[in-house]
């Protein structure tokens, strides 16, 4: 095909849809951060609405985690996929009307989840507290997403680019993970075995839904922005297949020292350490690609978001290979160490990547340069300082809490010593929150600017 015969961007990408997914995602990020803020206020004993049932910090904690996974991450990924997949395959999704239906249906799913939890209908599955009656709907939605994107991918022939391996695997894994986690411990197994499934679910949700979509986007956007291919195709293969094999085997490391059989716990620990080795190969690949283009870290905002996220990714995985050992677990399990780790992964890595993707795409979607480069910078630095402070603070708090328990000090001691850490965490959260507000303002201003430009264009 000559370049002229190739399908054009306008036919491939529904830009309004991408914008809608992104705005929904950012709206939910706002709600989720608000939930985290409420819980953080409770922990420093300054909750402003004590005794109000619908604002109960316990319920808003669940809204915080669920809305970030299903509201922010899922919407942002869907927006990015609707840009990347058609452009990469040079084919449209199965149906643009189906895409819009998925958009609407997914917002119903997320809103019902949030409202259901607020009304006290949570399911007893960590990170899957989605009320039981929503589970089948969400699963149907995931199936539609897979069908919609597999249509263009399935028409490709021969070997495919790395990004598509990650995406295809993610479609299968997300569906299976969601079904396994939400149905098995609810209807089929109980007790300790249900704990094993629960661990597998929490873990696979990160490892088999968020991680492959995230890396798929990195393999897509980084070479485009740096205008050169990924350093080593061989290492891409090692990274993908290593992740595919070892990641799912990690689940039980969330419940070490439980009555789950020890040999399964050991296996999960070994697999977790193996993941760190695989991750190192991926990181080497990306940093070798960056070599010679280091100045992009300064001049190219999205690249800066991406590579900062990768540094956090390396740190979390490194941390994970230590904290998964029984030695560390004895001390840090149940403490804020793990909470710090979780925030570093979810915000420091995947949110960074998605915010980077948005930073790249919004000017293209709105056909207008960012209204303020300065605000972009503020968004980045507020987020970076916020998440670094929050993770460091909580990770340091963990051993304090763990030792105070192990020393058999009265429980109040562990609370008293945590309060300063929790206060710092609140400040860190507010930094991240204000970063988001700056970003939202910038989007608003850019949108206004784009309206003005098109208005001028129309009058000319």
């Amino acid at each position: 095909m000559s370049p002229n015969e190739l399908p054009q961007h306008e036919e491939l990408v529904d830009e309004k849809l991408v914008i809608s997914f992104f705005l929904a995602a950012l709206g939910y990020l706002f709600v989720s951060m608000l939930g985290g803020f409420l819980m953080a206020l409770q922990l420093i004993r300054h909750f402003p609405f004590p005794g109000v049932e619908l604002l109960s910090p316990g319920r808003w904690r669940m809204i915080h985690t669920n809305v970030v996974a299903y509201g922010f991450l899922a919407n942002a990924f869907l927006g990015a996929l609707h840009w990347a997949v058609p452009r990469l395959t040079l084919r449209t999704v199965l149906s643009k009307r189906l895409s819009w239906f998925i958009f609407a249906a997914w917002q119903v799913v997320v809103l019902s989840t949030a409202i259901g939890i607020m009304l006290g209908q949570a399911q007893a599955l960590e990170w899957g507290e989605t009320p039981v009656w929503i589970d089948p709907l969400a699963l149907a939605g995931l199936l539609l997403v897979a069908v919609n994107f597999m249509a263009p991918i399935s028409r490709l022939t021969g070997p495919m680019y790395v990004t598509l391996w990650y995406f295809m695997a993610a479609f299968v894994w997300t569906f299976l993970t969601y079904a396994m986690g939400n149905f098995m411990p609810q209807y089929f197994v109980t007790g300790t075995a249900a704990g094993a499934v629960g661990g597998l679910f929490i873990h696979d949700l990160v490892g088999l839904f968020v991680t492959p979509l995230g890396w798929g986007l990195m393999y897509y956007f980084v070479p485009i922005m740096l205008k050169k291919p990924i350093w080593s195709h061989g290492l891409s293969l090692v990274g993908f297949w290593g992740l595919a094999f070892f990641y799912p085997l990690n689940g039980i490391h969330h419940f070490l020292y439980t009555p789950i059989p020890m040999f399964l716990q050991y296996a999960a620990i070994v697999a977790t350490i193996a993941v760190e080795l695989v991750v190192t190969t991926v990181l080497i690949n990306f940093f070798a690609t960056l070599k010679g283009s280091m100045s992009a870290l300064v001049t190219n905002m999205p690249i800066r978001w991406f590579y900062s996220g990768m540094v956090f990714y390396f740190l979390t995985c490194l941390q994970c290979s230590f904290q998964t050992t029984l030695t560390f677990q004895a001390l840090i399990h149940f403490t804020d160490w793990v909470v710090g780790h979780a925030h570093m992964v979810m915000f420091g890595v995947f949110s960074f990547w998605l915010l980077g993707v948005m930073t790249y795409l919004f000017p293209r979607l709105l056909k207008t340069e960012w209204a303020s480069q300065k605000m972009l910078s503020w968004h980045y630095w507020l987020s970076l300082v916020g998440i670094t402070l929050m993770s460091a603070d909580l990770i340091v708090a963990g051993p304090f809490q763990g030792y105070s328990w192990a020393q058999l000090l009265p429980w109040e001691v562990s609370i008293e010593l945590s309060i300063p850490f929790w206060a710092v965490r609140l400040v860190a959260g507010l930094l991240m929150f204000s970063g988001l507000l700056v970003f939202l303002t910038n989007i608003g201003l850019t949108w206004a600017k784009s309206r003005k430009l098109s208005h001028v264009a129309a009058n000319v």
Binding site: R59, V172, M180, T190, V197, L249, L264, V338
Partner: protein, 234 residues
């Protein structure tokens, strides 16, 4: 190469690797514990005198609230009365668990004692598998974070009165507690628990009540505390 093709990615990575993890990490433990039968709430109640005692204690302390929530206890001693109490108690357990989940209690209170970190000294015996083989652990409430203490040995440690006041406004009893208040489990004051409140108390009193030795009290180093306090004063 198959590793870069749709078939490889979809079937080997997507299905086979996921399946392998699913079998080893989920099906294996499920099969290992198959011989431990899953108990219903009714079965849990009928063999547990400690729990029944606590449940009847609710009726003694707050007769009106109890009547409004569960109905009239058959006045005459005998089989009918036993059956009625067992059924009502099982209902309360289920309902109490729902409240426990809905309020997210289990995100700050774990439900398992590990064999490390002096946990058996602080809380009581290390958790065993068969303790979790019942419908109230479906899905299981192990938990992953302890802001407050573990609760799997909580039953009998505090009286129902204590729990009522504590749920209503925790700081009244636990100085410095960061636990939220739950006034919607009551009709206005701690001496008027509603059905949710009574059910949650039944559930919390159940935790660990199946053990032979019961209840367990939190152990901590009194001397060390006094020493620390003295140091702080200095």
């Amino acid at each position: 190469m198959i590793l870069e093709k749709k078939s490889g990615v979809l079937f080997i990575a997507g299905l086979v690797f996921f399946g392998l993890a699913f079998v080893s990490n989920a099906v294996v433990p499920a099969l290992m514990y198959k011989k431990l039968p899953e108990k219903t709430a009714e079965q849990l109640v009928t063999v547990n005198g400690n729990l029944r005692y606590q449940f009847e204690d609710l009726a003694r302390r707050w007769p009106e609230a109890f009547r409004a929530a569960f109905g009239e206890i058959p006045p005459e001693e005998g089989n009918e009365r036993e059956k009625w109490l067992n059924r009502a108690c099982a209902d309360a357990l289920r309902k109490g668990r729902d409240v426990y989940v809905a309020e997210g209690c289990w995100h700050c209170h774990s439900q398992f004692i590990r064999p490390v970190s002096n946990e058996d000294k602080r809380f009581g015996p290390v958790s065993k598998s068969d303790e979790y083989q019942n419908e109230l652990q479906r899905p299981v409430l192990f938990g992953t974070r302890r802001v407050g203490p573990d609760l799997i040995r909580e039953g009998g440690r505090h009286s129902n009165d204590w729990h009522a006041v504590h749920f209503f406004k925790p700081v009244t009893l636990s100085t410095g507690s960061v636990m939220p208040e739950y006034p919607w489990l009551f009709d206005g004051s701690p001496d008027k628990p509603n059905k949710k409140g009574l059910a949650l108390m039944t559930y919390v009193q159940w935790l660990g009540s199946w053990l032979e030795s019961y209840p367990y009290y939190q152990d901590y180093q009194e001397n060390l505390v006094l020493k620390l306090k003295a140091e702080v004063r200095r």
